[in-house]
Symmetry: C2
Subunit: 378 residues, 2 copies
């Protein structure tokens, strides 16, 4: 099957670019001697995850539905990287009873207390990571928070069967997404490393083994200079890349493996608009580049082969309609005929991929070599 035989819109994955992106991060991290625990929330696809390694690979998930799906497909070492809520304890226990090696995250004493009690009551052996806040952007306790040891006091200091035990610390440098230069990303990466290692050292001084020190974000993973004291790196969007990563200087547009194929269905010639059948439902409402130096609208417009067309962006969207216009001067919009297929590079791979049920996989040509499914929901 060829691209031009697809009904549009359709999500296209260039496997060659994806494989190159995976190889790049692996090569980048290899000298540091850390474990790569990819965040499968971006692709939510076993077929994609297999390109990163065998199911022996440890993975990170953002939902328990991902945990179920990847466990069913053979993965077992699974970090659920969102602070655990009590209404998910039973589901975690059930996954463990079926053989999954689940690790959970928390950042407060209330959850530590109820989880410790749940594990004792259900003879559940569960490794727990304390979430550390190294950049103020989300959850976690700051590395020098006096409460650090109050929170962990309910957890065992080493692995003890039938308990919740503190396996270590984790952080996510979400602030790296707001950086203006590679130097800033490097500074955030060092702040992330230093903060989470400081927290681990405080815990070790109090008798916790804390074998795991986990950091992660795609920008910091690509530019970090030192990972001293870190044992594992999580990253998700690196597998596909996107325009936000391009705007941050983490990748070139030619590295972006994901695009949405759409068809020109009409024009507003006086306004210089191309109308397509790829709207925000196909791209998502994510406008991550809006706060960057170059606002890419709903995406950069490429020809059917995936080559960007200079200065052509998807400027606006209805649910199932895209509006494509020249970035600077609508009179310069090329009036491609009705029926022309275009590919749109997304702002944010995680949110665009989530709008689709699967990937039409190409390898640099028009030939579709596979259809890969993906999951969504909770």
């Amino acid at each position: 099957m060829q691209l031009n035989q697809l009904e549009t819109p359709a999500l296209i994955l260039d496997r060659v670019k994806m494989d190159r992106n995976i190889a790049r991060l692996k090569a980048r991290l290899q000298p540091f001697g850390v474990v790569l625990r990819p965040h499968v929330k971006t692709a939510k696809s076993a077929d994609v995850a297999k390109r990163m390694g065998t199911p022996d690979t440890p993975i990170t998930v953002s939902t328990l539905k991902e945990a179920e799906y990847f466990f069913k497909h053979g993965w077992s070492d699974i970090l659920y990287a969102v602070g655990i809520a009590e209404n998910k304890f039973a589901h975690i226990a059930d996954l463990v009873s079926r053989g999954a090696k689940m690790t959970v995250v928390l950042d407060n004493k209330e959850t530590a207390t109820t989880l410790a009690r749940f594990c004792r009551d259900h003879t559940l052996t569960l490794p727990v990571l304390l979430e550390i806040d190294t950049d103020g952007h989300r959850s976690g306790v700051v590395p020098d928070d006096p409460a650090l040891l109050d929170i962990t006091a309910e957890l065992e200091r080493t692995e003890v069967a039938g308990t919740a035990w503190l396996a270590g610390v984790m952080t996510h440098a979400g602030a790296s997404y707001d950086c203006k230069s590679v130097a800033e990303i490097q500074a955030i990466a060092e702040q992330e490393r230093a903060g989470v290692v400081q927290a681990a050292e405080r815990l070790r001084a109090a008798g916790y083994a804390a074998p795991v020190v986990s950091v992660g974000s795609t920008p910091t993973a690509h530019f970090v200079q030192s990972l001293d004291g870190v044992t594992e790196v999580r990253a998700g969007v690196f597998v596909f890349f996107d325009l936000v990563m391009n705007g941050l200087g983490v990748c070139d547009q030619s590295d972006i493996a994901l695009s949405v194929l759409c068809t020109v269905i009409g024009h507003q010639k006086k306004k210089g608009w191309l109308i397509t059948d790829g709207g925000w439902m196909a791209m998502s409402r994510d406008r991550g580049t809006a706060k960057q130096a170059v606002d890419q609208g709903y995406g950069v417009v490429c020809d059917q082969n995936g080559t960007p067309i200079p200065d052509l962006v998807m400027r606006d969207a209805n649910q199932e309609h895209g509006i494509i216009v020249h970035r600077h001067d609508a009179s310069l919009t090329p009036m491609f005929p009705v029926g022309t297929m275009l590919r749109i590079l997304p702002n944010h791979a995680c949110s665009t991929a989530a709008q689709h049920d699967g990937y039409s996989v190409v390898a640099g040509t028009d030939h579709i070599e596979a259809q890969w499914s993906r999951i969504s929901g909770w």
Copy 2:
């Protein structure tokens, strides 16, 4: 099952509010003597559509996947309201061959020509609506465009077996979403009506029967004063309503039937943040109220029963984390304990619902009376 037994995040649908919203629009349109052809793109659920009428009801769809799904569930009179592309002709023909009464939309001569040829070649009888641009916001030809009759020249003037025939005209008053007052919505509604009727009259003067004159948007449907010359009204979001409709004055917050149930998983007490497990993946990235007088962030925060908590909004989001803060003063954020369940009213029902596989249906209490599935994708 009760709400507090759900794993969060979860999409909650209050059936009592939904039924009231449906009854309201039906009662509003009844005196006009027009057909209501609901747009099922909002709910994408046969269970929801059944609350609007039997499968004898005509419907509007935004994707051919919706057409397939609703046809499978018994609906047959289906308007696909996105300009048809040639790569979908065969799919339309297949639906018709199985008994669906499909109507398609176009706004340009190239598509009219290729579609007419396709219908002749495949002995396909297909009603076509010409899309009219009544507010400059998307597709369509303006009512007095000299090209109007050039475009339709390829189509039959009445229903002739084995041809594409011009069944009429349609328009969508998307500009109504940008109105600042009810008076403005009424003006847009009249502009929508007058424009599409003018186009129909031009076609009739040229010998086209053009029996169908179709208008539609939720704001205009609720405030239109005259539907003279109009035969049918399409609307989608009316079934659930949302914060954008609330900001437009079309509904109260207490009419919003859709919400996302989430759980407090932590705090950043110094910053006055509640952290939940409902992030942008659960709400969508749609920030439709950002351009309204009151920006509701990612949504208005309600207690578990669905009652808004004064001045509490979801201000920011990560993929699976929500950040909830008092609208004016973070020091006033109520520090609900970890484990507290909250419900978030969405900016845009279509985009939030699209993030979920189904609805947990309640009827004003904590009791979940049903689980309704929905579809997504193309």
